[in-house]
């Protein structure tokens, strides 16, 4: 049966939306795309036939979609069946991603801090003690006054909020920080579905709270206790895993 152009576009659009949410290897994605396209085509064809038409129109597609599920649900269903075949990310790739994240974050926050401090330093120089030590040519300022304290507070809170946004909000929204994204890693729930902000918050607690000690301990926990599952302590608590997007598990591992 023929299909009108706008119906075809609508169908293709929906299938791509579904498959876009399925993080598996490309060959599988192509296969799923073909099968779902075929499915919706056949379903729409039934609909078109029922109303006596010889062409699949947009209304048939729309009717089928109305009866169908949310694209995310369909994607989640697929992810649940794929999760066991995805390769989980180990210590090395995750550590590299973390280092990259700190470099990127450091650059961004460094720039922001500079932007905040310059006006303060320029307009209220007397609020700071300026030190210039001869032997090593070191230069630093320390706050000495209420306005300077305000600047220090702004810098501190901006940095903290920046950390929350970078490590938690980004991961909760996209399932990855820029460092992870560059390495092709994704954070998923243990059942393969996408994480939400709750998981992002819980699993990143050791990164945001306290100093680097916590994340190091957490990473060690992974190496010592949960190496098989490739989960940090806080991954276990949040029930999250980190996978190599679109990479099948090696045969020898299964």
């Amino acid at each position: 049966m023929e299909i009108s152009d706008d119906a075809k576009a609508r169908l293709s659009n929906r299938v791509n939306r579904i498959v876009g949410d399925i993080d598996v290897y490309d060959a599988e994605k192509r296969e799923i795309t073909r099968e779902l396209t075929s499915h919706f085509y056949d379903h729409s064809m039934t609909h078109a036939t029922e109303r006596g038409s010889k062409v699949i129109e947009k209304q048939d597609i729309e009717a089928v979609f109305a009866e169908s599920e949310d694209p995310r649900e369909i994607a989640a269903g697929y992810m649940q069946s794929y999760v066991n075949s995805l390769q989980r990310a180990g210590f090395v790739s995750r550590a590299i991603a973390f280092v990259i994240d700190w470099i990127i974050f450091g650059l961004i926050i460094g720039f922001v801090v500079l932007m905040i401090s310059l006006p303060f330093l320029a307009l209220f120089p007397d609020q700071f003690n300026w030190h210039f030590t001869e032997p090593h040519y070191q230069f630093f300022v320390e706050p000495n006054g209420p306005v300077a304290m305000l600047m220090a507070f702004l810098i501190g809170s901006t940095t903290f909020i920046g950390m929350l946004v970078y490590f938690i909000v980004l991961e909760g929204t996209f399932g990855a920080t820029p460092g992870k994204w560059l390495l092709g890693l994704r954070v998923l729930r243990e059942d393969g579905t996408r994480i939400g902000y709750v998981e992002a918050i819980i699993r990143n607690i050791p990164k945001v709270v306290g100093n680097s000690v916590f994340i190091v301990i957490d990473a060690l926990l992974m190496l010592l206790l949960f190496n098989k599952e490739k989960q940090r302590g806080f991954d276990k608590i949040a029930r999250t895993i980190v996978v190599h997007k679109g990479k099948k598990k090696d045969r020898k591992e299964t």
């Binding site: 099968e35 056949d42 069946s81």
Partner: protein, 120 residues
């Protein structure tokens, strides 16, 4: 109350997806939409499997060697269809599933029936 019943039914149906799909494949190779549609029609709308359930189940059964798939051209401007065929292993698994299902139904019967499927 209806909402709770629906939730319970949903879980129940999810557990019997493989059973219903394999049963249907016993009578011949079918493609995804055909399976979903036939199930609905044959059971008078009682068994309606959603896409998020059916296709992942088929994929998982293929991984387990219970079914095989192949693409078939349809011509006439219709996109090719992915057909599924039950394997020998799938047949064996199905027979075992039916045996267990009957055992379960009988057990349930013992709990709330009088042995003839009638409520006590």
């Amino acid at each position: 109350m209806q909402e709770d019943i629906d939730k319970w039914l949903k879980e129940l149906k999810k557990g019997s997806t493989k059973l219903s799909i394999l049963s249907l494949l016993r009578s011949g190779d079918k493609y995804g939409y055909e399976l979903i549609h036939d199930l609905e029609v044959r059971t008078g709308g009682v068994i309606i499997i959603k896409e998020s359930n059916a296709y992942p189940a088929l994929h998982s059964m293929e991984g387990d060697g219970l079914v095989e798939s192949y693409w078939k051209e349809t011509g006439e401007g219709i996109p090719p269809r992915k057909y599924y065929r039950i394997t020998a292993r799938g047949q064996g698994f199905l027979e075992e599933m039916i045996r267990e299902w009957k055992r379960y139904v009988n057990a349930m019967d013992e709990i709330w029936g009088d042995g003839n499927g009638n409520q006590r």
